[in-house]
Subunit: 231 residues, 4 copies
Amino acid sequence: MATGRDSADDARTSSTVRSDPARAVAFSDAIIAIVITLLVLDLRPPDTEPGGLLPALLDEWPTYLAYAGSYVYLAVIWLNHKAAFTRIREMDRGLQWANLGILATLALVPWPTAVVAETARTGDLTNERVAVALYALVGALMCSSWLVFFAYLARHPDLTKQEVDDAYFARERPRAFIGVVLYLVAGMAGVFIHPLVASAIFLLLPAFYGLTSHGHDQRPALAGPGVGGGA
Amino acid sequence: MATGRDSADDARTSSTVRSDPARAVAFSDAIIAIVITLLVLDLRPPDTEPGGLLPALLDEWPTYLAYAGSYVYLAVIWLNHKAAFTRIREMDRGLQWANLGILATLALVPWPTAVVAETARTGDLTNERVAVALYALVGALMCSSWLVFFAYLARHPDLTKQEVDDAYFARERPRAFIGVVLYLVAGMAGVFIHPLVASAIFLLLPAFYGLTSHGHDQRPALAGPGVGGGA
Amino acid sequence: MATGRDSADDARTSSTVRSDPARAVAFSDAIIAIVITLLVLDLRPPDTEPGGLLPALLDEWPTYLAYAGSYVYLAVIWLNHKAAFTRIREMDRGLQWANLGILATLALVPWPTAVVAETARTGDLTNERVAVALYALVGALMCSSWLVFFAYLARHPDLTKQEVDDAYFARERPRAFIGVVLYLVAGMAGVFIHPLVASAIFLLLPAFYGLTSHGHDQRPALAGPGVGGGA
Amino acid sequence: MATGRDSADDARTSSTVRSDPARAVAFSDAIIAIVITLLVLDLRPPDTEPGGLLPALLDEWPTYLAYAGSYVYLAVIWLNHKAAFTRIREMDRGLQWANLGILATLALVPWPTAVVAETARTGDLTNERVAVALYALVGALMCSSWLVFFAYLARHPDLTKQEVDDAYFARERPRAFIGVVLYLVAGMAGVFIHPLVASAIFLLLPAFYGLTSHGHDQRPALAGPGVGGGA
């Protein structure tokens, strides 16, 4: 989908090319678009008897909340993915696999979302505890995949664009690590205190990442053709 | 998917770059393509007994009408999205979220479409009233998200291309606002008069937006390489 | 997805720009990719008792044939769509809607495919007649949408690239018209003779279009940068 | 999605253009993204009674393994597809169909994956043998489609970029052929020894292809604008 044009241009004018991120960016965009859309498309007409549609729709409010939360979550991830890739000049096999790891955990998100929505509807407390623990686990996996991604980039400054501060991706690591911890804490709170505590943290976490993000796109060091920048 | 090449080129030759809309355009195209396709793919072979396929297929006519209406609706939205983005030079976080809001409401459309089609088939009047009210609500939400989008652009003329009239997006706001009102009126007509009245308005509204659109693509002020234009 | 780069470049260097086809090409590619993939993904594990998987899989052969046929059909359509767009320089609203019409009918294809596969499995002759008639109707609709598309381009030579023969799209019309006729004949043969006759024609028609296609991509009149050509 | 920009640029500056691979690359990316995503999205909340969610989730471990294996498989295929296309300068009809053959077999993968996961859950040995045989068959088909693709490129060195060694694609053929053999051997081991033997080979094969791959992206012969290279 996207083209990562600018990074492509930068890559070409710079010395050695390992692999232009354009196709990886486009592939990632396609996957994120599919996941975020199918999440919403998972809303189905409820089975109802005559006159029962309104209460059936209203009863589904935990589903709406779960999907809204996951939509915002995935939107934040996409914005951060975009911001990260404006700083990447070229990719090697390791970075490709780190990115594929992010995409794999990201594609998992609708699954615990559906499990949480399903159990919230049936209202069995044991199942709800298990469901939020599963959601927390996938959330922690997701943050771990970003941790791997950032750590890889921090160890390979040659893959980033010239104008990017070498410590940039090293500084991103703690944020991802905090995410792993917070999701695990949320999961334990959901199991040992109450599933609603976990759900509240799940809704707040993406907001936290959206707001604290250093993840504005990379601005070009110089404004002019050939330097380009924020894709 | 799409590349928004021209806007990308414009952005690069212009002074400061916040964020090139190319990846947002591509991401939006992917999401709209998925939603519009899955809408049609929702048509399934009906369950039938021997010899019962023809009446079963004919009985589904409200489904066909509902899907045709939503297809045209989403096609009009895509054309307007395209027309709007030919005027956008760069995006900031606020505009990204305004666009993500449009995509979220747009991805909701198949849901009330399926609910309306389902209730039209079973023919319970109370459920039909609720279904058209739900469709009207989603339609109003969709128009509201455009209202936010246009209002944001009207307040940030620095995000649009140089050759775009500063008042352009301000002039688009009333059209989106009328949409909010008309969908709410349609919903109330569906509840208090008859669902068919609402359905008729639902089918007419996209036609209205398709025809009254100022939304032809932006033409370049000057024709020549580097000025480019209508993407 | 795709970029239609070359046509974009051509369009920019040529005089007046109405609307660059790049985003329409990308949007079309996304929709065709979704339809062709979901067609194949419709294959599901059969419900079986212990030891019954092998006969259950073998019993589904009409399904495999139906999906293989529709895959080839959609692949031929994609190649022809690609070939047509290498000749298009710019798009106006009418051409956008003609293209959206093609995409709408194309997205319908999995529906009659599933109906034909379903009825072939259950083996009720009346339903099979109706199913092939439905497939024929959608096939005829599809060819009609191409007829509209070609006729529009034939009447608007200013939308095609300079080096394209003005009569090119006029010459494509009879092929689309023959398709409409052949699908209707196949449908009638399926109803009045036997569904297998229709199925045979359905499998042969895409092969016919694949082989008789003038639809090789447009070659550039001159080979050199800026003239580009076959996208 | 992706743009294959570099190959497009190379193609343009080189002599005769048959067909720029950009749109085929984008189309392939879209299809692979859809298949790999829907594979993961196939995970559904299990049907459970009160308190039964945890054991129900744990019972599904063969499903998780099957999907993880297929995800890695498809990721390796995408990387190899990307590596192959960095060497392709232009495409003719034959190469388009060879690529469409790869996409068709690739889109089949979720189907035997679901069949294997389903039978592993129900635990009937006869069905499991049939399921791994089906998976092996699709795997062999997939490798055959690559064999055809490589053989076609080996016979048409004019379709590859100038700087690509003429024997490159000829050297890729044995690897694809070994894949065909290994999948068939795995299938037979699954039928005549035990399904677990086949499953182990299925999980090892993509790892083997990922590791032995010559498939790093093509580096440019010269580093500089206009020569570009590894897309």
